[in-house]
Amino acid sequence: MASGMLGTAITGLQAFQRSLETTSHNISNVNTEGYSRQRVDLATKDEQMIGVGYLGTGVNVVNITRSYDQFITTQLRSSTAAFGDVDKYSELASQVDDIVADPSVGMEPAIKNFFNAVNDATDDPTSIPARQVLLSETEILSSRFDTMNSRFGEIRDQINTDMVVMADEITSFAKEIANLNVQIATAQGQANAEQQPNDLLDKRDTALNQLAELVDISVVPSNSNMINVFMGKGQILVLDTNANAVITKPTKFDPSKLDVLIRTPSGTEGIVTNQVTGGALAGTLRFRDEVLDPAQQKLGSVAASIAMEFNNIHETGYDLDGVSGDLFFKGQGMGTEVIPVAVSTTNSTGSSITVMFDKNNIKNIDSSDYMLEVSNGPSYKLTRVSDNSFITLTDSGGGTLVATDPATLPGITINSTGLTAGDSFLIRPTFTAASTIEQNITDTRKVALATNKALDSNGVEYDVKGPMPGDNRNGLLLAGLESTQSMLGGTATFQGGYGLIVSEVGVLTSSAKIATAAQETLLNNAKDAWGNVSGVNLDEEAAKLIQFQQSYQAAAQMISVSNVLFDSLLGAVN
């Protein structure tokens, strides 16, 4: 009898020791990220038939489980992905937001000062200092355009670095998860299905969560407690013990932009840029497509509009020496410089296009990139990349492509040679315009403020030969450009065109900030819920500690009692 009691007490001692150890484990991991508190599941030992009935034989540790809720964990993961997306987007958009409004970088003061200088030079067309101020303001204007453009470029460099890092991180998380899958499957093989390697599972959940910060994932259970992980719109990342790699590569047409690819262990690569959803990676890609590229292109369109409209009038005027006006601004699409065109590597040999700004149609300049595709016929299609609307073109002779439907090209002219079906070109009228456009005139006397026009007694206008130093009429026309609605198809001034960038960036940033706040609340709710289920509460653990300590002491007391009983029995014998 005493041995039965002793045995029972020992099972208690062992069980409570496990419980104390688990509590100790919980307390130790109170600050471990992703750690789920664990609990020792106790059950009575098999009872023993002793004739009069079944006698209990103590307690058994049947399992050590973690507090885990599948739904809450999934919730947390998707909230993490959603928050990672908007948070990254908002963080990057705020940078652009700060740039466009910054008085020391923003274009508004530069454009204004430039036109004020035009006005002052027009007031005093013979004044060399006033002309010098105009040239200086022109330099400031073009360097402002350049500065803002390079700020955008710096952000693009930064997100490219980010994307490379994120791709590496995703790859390493995928590897880690695949490794954990291996370990978990191995561990699982040593136990029954109920008994799980809690800490490994926590580690895997943590890895999944960290992965979800970068990209939205879906998790599908597999054999042996392993999982399969799919990213974005179903691209395989982890399949049991195999992990794919995520890499980045320059895009086909623009080396300054990166595509996201998935590479299988066998080396097959596939572009998944457009399939990425959720997480910081998607936030970055969305920022690039929605904020950064449009802002840079719109900035380019403002620069190109100012330069072209100014050139158009300046070229019809005459300078201080009576020489007809030169280009005031130079840059892509003007004079001899062409608009950058990215050529597909699969194009036929000898095919090329030359794209220039159309001085007669500059008000229709559009900020989007355009894709020119040649099909059989030959027929030509110009697709507006930002919304995939397209313009049908026809060769009007000599390779000059003109628009037929709709009948207007977006402020550019296209000349082609040797186009054959299958050729494609990416035309980027505005993307780099802000950086390439700069002042062309450096000699103050070459500013063409005069029109050299006069009326004779019959009211017939004629051109006056020679310098007309006091003539400011071309200057008046140039100054008038400030108020002319010469952008967006003739509906906005230059300032209005720039204001559009500010408002669009502002609206996008503002809505991103609101979305971030909302997602943060949802994430916090999910974390709260997860903490409620899985988190360690020290007070609770302290109470458990007391409880198990007391139980242990009680069980030990049982040994002492059984010893006394044994001693009593021995004493009775002696």
Partner: protein, 657 residues
């Protein structure tokens, strides 16, 4: 419900973070004084603020333009005031000089002051502004508005042809001055010297400088007969490029009269009788066209009657407006009226009659008309002087037809080398048109300039009919001819001269060898009798005085008739100075109106700026009271969060074990 310890701690940290973010934003708002720090704070307000700021900046620029314009107009107004004072003084002096008791020496004294006034007027016209620009030179603001042109012999306007304007508001522009040509040059004149044409249009304008200059010359008794001039009306100071393939040609003709003159003087005693069977008829042929018959069928008792009837017949024929007969000339003289180059005027006999007008071959045949001289320009000419010397090149032969080209500052003038009413200059484009000279220089084809007669002579009012002064009771008939320099000669007529020609011959014979020889002559062909001054300068005037007899009465002179004396010039100058004064006043009025408009616009702009600034302030400026109370609230909230955190951290069951 249970709380994870680490999460509970995180919650406290989150609460403090949130409060600190809010406080930091309020703090930045306070330090910037702006409600919105980045466009994303309020995109609509950000764009609105941009466009409001742009409006303010633009209007501020307009205010600067107004300042500049006002300063320039003030200078102009000062100049105009000086010019008016010059005119006032010149008028006083002119009135003084018109006093008939003044001697030539007295007038010389006045002349020297007039010369000073002329210089002062030139000084006004060449006023500069603060930037050193000539304010009356329009868009050629680095060139003096007027300069002495030795070739033309007067001050010529050489400024630009457009006035500069400045923006003072959207869609509102104001000229910051006036063209010197409109102020000083194009002044309507009553003077005969002003009888100039520009591009064929008679403008009767003269510059105030020319007015003062002619006054100055008249004061020293110099009267110059102007020559025929045609000038272009485009700004061509910097020449033109006619190098191949732009070679251009044009034609110049000096004699647009294109007359055909008979050889016989007709006698009307007895009267010519062409009535009935005596009809006289002849054909007129212009340019080898159809012969137009003219039939004379009346009885004519004088040359005038005959000529009037021929003109009447022509006006009823297809040649109406193409040909006329000179109303007084004797022998008969046909003229073409057309300004086209008609190389020939032909008169042919069809029956009888013509022999009366003409000797045997007389009018029958082709009349000689002045041939055009064709000028070819085929090089690049750097300036007007180069064009002028190319045209005047002897190889062109302009001297043969008495025309020369000269520059008048901004354009070219074709001038007759002869003076007076006989001079004429015409310009034509060749047919077919070759090159663009006429268009470039602002001529129209067929433009003709004619000289004027300054009246340097006295003309009788009657056609001579009395030729016999031998037996008359009043014989001899004698009269005195004077020039203004005091040269005089008494002409005595005491014979029967028999005809107009003989009478004139007798008079001329007496002039020859006298003190007035080379000064005064009797027109050998004019009827009524005309005495002309053939000199210039101090003696360019003719006065006829009665001595005895009826010569003056017979020929319609009045004793003391004077051609061209100072009073005429003086009165013309007085009238012209009044017109000039009116012109200055008119311009000054417009300057005043512009200054008022500037004030008006300045006030409007000022108010606009204030209004916009108010709106801008509402859009972007921070409400400090609200921001400070918010800041205090946030401070309290942060302190609360911090306290809550520290309290919660102290709550641990372990503390009680």
């Amino acid at each position: 419900m249970r709380i994870s310890t680490s999460w509970a701690q995180q919650l406290g940290v989150n609460a403090m973070n949130a409060q600190q973010v809010k406080m930091s934003k309020t703090q930045m708002q306070l330090s910037a004084g702006l409600t919105n720090l980045t466009p994303s704070d309020d995109p609509a307000a950000a764009v609105k603020a941009l466009s409001l700021q742009e409006s303010i900046d633009k209007t501020t620029q307009y205010q600067e333009n107004i300042e500049v314009t006002r300063a320039r107009l003030s200078i102009e107004e000062g100049g105009l005031q000086t010019a008016e004072n010059v005119i006032f003084r010149a008028k006083e002096l002119t009135v003084q000089a018109l006093n008939s008791t003044l001697t030539l020496q007295d007038r010389e004294a006045i002349k020297s002051e007039i010369d000073q006034l002329l210089q002062e007027m030139v000084g006004v016209a060449n006023t500069k502004n603060a930037n050193g620009e000539y304010i009356f030179s329009g868009d050629l603001s680095t060139t003096p508005a007027v300069a002495w042109d030795a070739e033309v012999g007067s001050y010529v306007y050489q400024g630009g042809v457009n006035q500069r304007v400045l923006d003072i508001a959207p869609e509102r522009r104001v000229a910051d001055g006036d063209l010197g040509s409109n102020i000083f040059s194009n002044i309507t004149s009553v003077s005969q010297e002003a009888n100039t044409t520009v591009n064929g249009v008679e403008i009767n304008q003269r510059s105030v400088f020319d007015t003062l200059q002619s006054l100055s010359k008249a004061l020293s008794a110099q009267y110059e007969v102007p020559e025929a001039v045609i000038s272009g009306d485009r700004f061509m100071r910097l020449g033109a490029d006619y190098s191949a393939p732009s070679t251009t040609t044009f034609d110049l003709i000096s004699d647009v009269g294109r007359t055909l003159t008979g050889t016989n003087t007709l006698s009307f005693s007895p009267a010519l009788d062409y009535s009935g069977v005596n009809n006289a008829d002849f054909n007129l042929v212009v340019d080898g066209g159809a012969a137009v018959p003219i039939v004379l069928d009346g009885t004519y008792s004088s040359q005038q009657e005959l000529l009037a009837d021929i003109n009447e017949k022509i006006s009823l024929s297809p040649l109406s407006g193409v040909i006329e007969v000179d109303a007084t000339a004797d022998p008969i003289q046909f003229k073409t009226l057309s300004t086209e180059i008609s190389p020939t005027l032909q008169i042919t006999a069809t029956g009888n009659g013509l022999t009366d007008f003409s000797a045997a071959a007389g009018l029958v045949g082709v009349g000689q008309i002045a041939s055009p001289v064709t000028v070819t320009l085929n090089a690049e000419y750097a300036n007007l002087d180069a064009v002028v010397s190319a045209i005047n090149d002897p190889s062109n032969g302009l001297a043969a037809i008495g025309i020369e080209a000269r520059s008048n500052g901004n354009n070219i003038e074709f001038v007759s080398t002869t003076k007076g009413k006989e001079s004429s200059v015409s310009i034509y484009d060749e047919d077919p048109v070759n090159g663009s000279f006429l268009t470039d220089f602002g001529f129209s084809t067929g433009v003709t300039g004619k000289g004027v007669d300054l009246g340097g002579g006295v003309i009788g009012t009657k056609v001579s009919e009395v030729f016999n002064y031998s037996a008359s009771t009043s014989s001899p008939a004698s009269f005195e001819l004077n020039d203004e320099a005091g040269n005089k000669q008494i002409i005595t007529l005491d014979a029967d001269y028999g005809s107009h020609d003989k009478l004139i011959e007798a008079i001329q014979n007496q002039i020859n060898g006298s003190a007035i020889e080379g000064k005064i002559e009797v027109d050998p062909s004019a009827n009524p009798i005309t005495f002309k001054s053939i000199s210039s300068g101090t003696s360019a005037a003719v006065q006829i005085n009665q001595v005895s007899g009826d010569f003056l009465k017979d020929n319609g002179f009045t004793s003391g008739d004077t051609g061209r004396v100072f009073s005429k010039t003086g009165n013309d100058v007085l009238a012209d100075l009044d017109t000039a004064l009116d012109n200055f006043l008119r311009v000054r009025t417009t300057v005043g109106a512009r200054m008022r408009a500037l004030d008006d616009q300045e006030n409007q702009n000022e108010k606009f700026i204030v209004d916009i600034q108010t709106t801008l302030s509402n859009v972007q400026d921070l409400d400090y009271a609200e921001a400070i109370s918010r800041f205090n609230l946030e401070q309290t909230a942060l302190e609360a969060a911090q306290q809550a955190y520290s309290r919660v951290q102290n709550l641990s069951l372990f503390n009680f074990l």
